[in-house]
């Protein structure tokens, strides 16, 4: 990978499902670059293929055609060595919470570190991260007692604890109120810029996209990305107000 090359790169990725004789195209010829330090937000209606896009980008699913590269290496889903590498380098914000009940949030967030660190060290890092995302108070609480907003922030801490180079989040702002949404999005943006980390996420609504460096819209398998130039600032659109 060159110093300026994208961290994650999708090239003409295509993915479809068959139901009987009928083919449903979820991704048709999708190309996307995400660079270090950049946050890319994709909006789409429910069922537009946003989650499939993220799974293909994370190497969890292989595209039927086209390629997905991470740090210049092509990803092929299902290779165990690759999966291990991905586990370290690619973080996924999961909002399901811990599998088992009775776990405190500091235990939950420190979980991904336990193989490589002592429990005490892992917990210290987890507390530091909970503090950074603004939910230090939740450290000794259990998942069931948290609000939706707190759950999202804890989930982000859980995904960040291993310091992934690429963070992927599927609608992290769903079910949050306006202020919580703004808080989560600016937190994610800071997480991208501060650590030169790439973030690819989907958003349920458009205002969240204001925090992103690059925005896109996914529908009918096509991903329309904002064109990366200042031309958009002077585009003559919409014109109808002018003649009214």
């Amino acid at each position: 990978m060159s110093a300026t090359g994208p961290l994650l790169s999708l090239r003409q990725a295509r993915k479809s499902y068959w139901r009987g004789l009928r083919e449903t195209v979820v991704l048709a010829d999708v190309s996307l670059d995400v660079h270090a330090g950049e946050m890319v937000a994709v909006w789409g209606r429910r069922g537009s293929g946003k989650t499939t896009l993220l799974e293909v980008a994370a190497g969890l699913q292989s595209p039927d055609q086209g390629t997905v590269s991470f740090q210049g290496r092509e990803l092929t889903a299902g290779r165990p060595s690759l999966a291990r590498a991905l586990n370290r380098e690619i973080g996924w914000v999961q909002r399901n919470g811990p599998q088992s009940n009775g776990m405190t949030m500091v235990e939950y967030v420190s979980l991904p570190l336990l193989g490589a660190h002592s429990p005490r060290m892992a917990q210290r890092r987890a507390v530091g991260l909970l503090e950074r995302v603004g939910v230090r108070d939740c450290a000794r609480q259990q998942w069931d007692s948290l609000t939706d907003g707190e759950r999202t922030l804890v989930s982000i801490a859980h995904a960040l604890v291993r310091e992934p180079k690429l963070l992927i989040a599927d609608d992290p702002t769903a079910n949050l109120d306006l202020l919580q949404r703004a808080e989560v999005m600016s937190l994610l943006r800071a997480a991208a810029e501060r650590k030169d980390r790439a973030i690819l996420l989907t958003v349920p609504d458009m205002p969240e996209m204001l925090n992103a460096h690059q925005v896109g819209s996914l529908s009918e398998g096509r991903l329309l990305l904002s064109r990366d130039d200042e031309l958009a600032d002077v585009v003559e659109f919409p014109r109808r107000e002018r003649s009214a």
């Binding site: 479809s16 449903t24 195209v25 996209m209 925005v215 529908s219 009918e220 600032d233 002018r242």
Partner: protein
């Protein structure tokens, strides 16, 4: 809304050259901005109706607007004040694309479907431009009214953009569905998710 009021409002804020006014209009009003020619034309009209005058010149109309600084006259300031309190007109509810959809013949639908993609791309580009603006404001210092006003208008525009994108997607799907149904089973294309 006419370009006249927008140009007059900016001149009241600060006297300026025609060229600079067109630039400021672009920055402040984004998608509502008018072309440079429309700004010059508005300045002509405003000078004729004595709402603005060229600084240091008695006859504004005879000067080149690009190199003339215009300032508002007391009449212009009064006029702008009364416009501000006029009931704002509802915007035209139909775009040119909608008109084309209504009037299209079936063989023209594929072209219109392509057009919806182009419009959606413009919406996405516009969103990115709004994001750049929003980030510029956030990193600035204390908020003033023009900043807060812009923020509010930006929020309204995002809501419009979202509605617009959803309508474009719906129109595209419906046109495609119509084409699929009328073309018969032999030429069926793969279905898209969504």
């Amino acid at each position: 809304m006419a370009a006249k009021q927008a140009v007059l409002g900016l001149v009241i804020e600060r006297p300026d050259y025609g060229y600079e006014l067109a630039k400021r209009l672009q920055e402040r009003c984004g998608p509502w901005a008018w072309s440079r020619q429309a700004v010059y034309k508005a300045l002509d009209e405003l000078a004729e109706s004595k709402h603005v005058r060229a600084l240091g010149a008695a006859d504004a109309a005879s000067r080149d607007q690009r190199r003339t600084v215009f300032e508002a006259t007391p009449t212009g300031i009064d006029y702008f004040g009364s416009w501000m309190f006029d009931q704002a007109a509802m915007e035209a509810s139909r775009s040119e694309l909608e008109l084309k959809i209504v009037l299209a013949r079936p063989h023209e639908l594929p072209k219109l479907i392509e057009m919806t993609w182009a419009h959606e791309q413009q919406c996405v580009d516009r969103l990115a431009a709004l994001a750049r603006q929003a980030q510029a404001v956030e990193s600035g210092g204390a908020l003033s009214w023009p900043d807060v006003g812009e923020m509010l208008v930006r929020d309204i525009e995002i809501k419009r953009l979202r509605l617009r994108v959803e309508c474009l997607q719906e129109a595209r799907r419906t046109m495609q569905l119509f084409l699929d149904r009328t073309a018969g089973p032999s030429s069926r294309r793969p279905r898209h998710a969504g």
